[in-house]
């Protein structure tokens, strides 16, 4: 996590957006700093895209404020838009234009002269690895290339802030890997906000994650902090060579820091749940050795982030945001 002296590139305060009575975003606050990749997660329709549309100046919030590089977005929208590179959901682009003329158009709207615009377009093409397809109409490109055109458009002016709405959606695994590499590469000197509904992306590219559900921010923290929310955090899985004797669970339950023991008789497995996510593997392994149980394997179960995600996006409608910063 970045030093807190680092001023926020984007500061969102008590943001709410209603569409004709329907509250799409409710009282969302967070900060994004330079050098940080912030993952914006949530089920479809949770309010991720709406929040991004507000930050990039497309939609006006019903309540709350957004500051971009310290300036109020509402008061100086054009200035804010200069600071931001934005990939809207679905990477829209003018279909009949070629990637090259499209990028030159974006460069011109962004106020670059002919020569500088051309240079910027070329640099963005190289960065986004568009290669040979730049002179084909965008409508003829594959989904992966279209997405890259959208990214090229967003990074063309080398903005300090990048807002990417589902940059890896619809890409094949290789393209995803490439896109993440590109994002990581740019992360050092930019503030990046990416939305996704793929949890693995949090570990792969993000320093921190925000989770939004039904318009509310339900989590703000690191991947580690997210894993700790799982009741199975630091749970120990033991499997045996023979059947589980009835005294095993009893002995395990008696250990300090053990909350519960779940038995799977068919597979001769026990799962020892740690109280409050404490580290209990040492106690467990000592017990197993002392009692000389017929051990096959013993390990700390890796947390299924999917389960945590499901838990906090479903069951905690009223919960406030957990803040780490």
């Amino acid at each position: 996590m970045q030093a807190s002296s680092n001023p926020a590139a984007v500061e969102v305060t008590s943001l709410s957006k209603e569409f004709g009575g329907f509250a799409a975003v409710k009282n969302v606050s967070f900060r994004l700093r330079r050098g940080e990749v912030l993952g914006f997660l949530g089920p479809n329709g949770a309010g991720k895209s709406t929040t991004m549309k507000i930050i990039t100046g497309y939609l006006r919030p019903t309540r709350g404020s957004v500051r971009v590089s310290g300036r109020d977005l509402e008061r100086s929208p054009i200035e804010a838009k200069r600071q931001i590179g934005y990939l809207p959901e679905g990477a829209p682009a003018y279909a009949e234009m070629s990637a090259h003329t499209f990028l030159e158009f974006v460069a011109r709207v962004r106020g670059f002269g002919r020569r500088e615009g051309r240079r910027r377009a070329q640099a963005a093409i190289e960065r986004a690895n568009l290669g040979d397809v730049v002179h084909q109409p965008i409508e003829t490109l594959s989904k992966g290339f279209k997405r890259r055109v959208g990214v090229a458009q967003a990074i063309l002016h080398d903005p300090p802030i990048l807002v990417l709405d589902e940059p890896t959606d619809g890409l094949d695994p290789n393209q995803k890997h490439e896109m993440r590499g590109l994002i990581r590469q740019m992360a050092s000197d930019k503030a990046i906000l990416i939305s996704t509904h793929i949890l693995e992306e949090v570990g792969a590219v993000c320093d921190r994650a925000l989770i939004i559900a039904r318009g509310r921010l339900v989590f703000d923290g690191t991947r580690e902090q997210l894993a700790r929310l799982s009741e199975r955090h630091n749970a120990v899985k033991i499997s045996f060579d023979s059947e589980i004797a009835p005294n095993y669970p009893v002995a395990l339950r008696a250990l300090d820091g053990v909350a519960d023991v779940l038995a799977d008789a068919d597979r001769a497995e026990l799962t020892v749940i740690a109280a409050g996510g404490r580290c209990i593997i040492q106690q467990v392994s000592r017990l197993v050795q002392r009692e000389n149980w017929p051990l096959k394997s013993l390990y700390v179960e890796s947390v299924q982030l999917d389960d945590v995600f499901r838990d906090i996006t479903r069951s905690r409608p009223g919960a406030g945001a957990e803040t780490s910063s």
Partner: protein, 244 residues
């Protein structure tokens, strides 16, 4: 380059990179010719003027211009490029003006390509050329008025067919304002001020005044302010419809 210039150039280039421009120009020229020579009877009148040519412009524009303007905003909204455009550092006004100017210049190009008609009449007799120039200018202004209505309506919907039909109908009202069809519908219940206002909105009467060669600044101001009002409404519509 200013953002208006960038939007203008992109839009104008788009017309010519798709078949739209060629289809529009060919149909416009063919119809203008047919109306002028067959229905208008340019030869038969035995007069060396372009009256039969210009008389049909309001009716040509009536369906050709909504066809041109229907995509201006509806297409952007449907494809999601509106979000892209409006998150670039340019104002809604710049986008509205850039798009409108591109479409207007495009119709200007189509109009300018009717010059053979002018040449023909000049070959056949002595023409009052200043009146012709003025008529062209009047026709161009009127085309702008149609376009402004069409652009505004296009901003209200993501459906181009709806944009076309509504623009066509509205333009028809403005062409026919002052005619019994529209006047009778208003007379009797609407206040006199409104009836007069509608009568003064007629494209036809303002256009005919210009084509007669009478230079009245009021006709020019009518078209320019009409365009400005509809473009203002266009900007409001774009802002309003963003959140849907």
């Amino acid at each position: 380059m200013t953002p208006v210039g960038a939007v203008f150039r992109r839009e104008l280039a788009t017309y010519f990179s798709t078949p739209v421009a060629y289809v529009f120009i060919v149909i416009f020229l063919v119809l203008a010719g047919v109306f002028t020579f067959y229905i208008g009877g340019l030869y038969e009148r035995g007069q060396a003027d372009l009256q039969p040519f210009f008389t049909f412009h309001p009716w040509l524009y009536l369906f050709l211009i909504p066809a041109l303007s229907m995509r201006l905003w509806a297409e952007e909204r449907k494809n999601g490029t509106l979000e892209l455009l409006l998150t670039l550092p340019l104002s809604v006004t710049a986008a509205v003006v850039g798009k409108f100017l591109a479409a207007w210049v495009f119709t200007g190009i189509a109009l300018a390509l009717t010059f053979p008609v002018w040449l023909t009449v000049n070959y056949l007799g002595t023409v009052d050329n200043p009146v012709v120039v003025l008529s062209y200018l009047g026709s161009f202004l009127m085309a702008g008025a149609y376009l402004a209505v069409g652009a505004c309506i296009s901003a209200f919907t993501a459906n181009q067919v709806i944009a076309f039909v509504v623009s066509f109908t509205l333009c028809l009202v403005f062409v026919l304002a002052g005619f019994p069809l529209v006047m009778d519908a208003l007379q009797g219940w609407a206040p006199q001020a409104l009836v007069d206002a509608v009568r003064n909105m007629s494209f036809l009467s303002h256009f005919e005044a210009i084509t007669r060669g009478v230079i009245d600044l009021r006709d020019v101001i009518f078209f320019l302010s009409f365009i400005a009002c509809w473009l203002f409404a266009n900007g409001v519509a774009v802002e309003m419809k963003k959140s849907e």
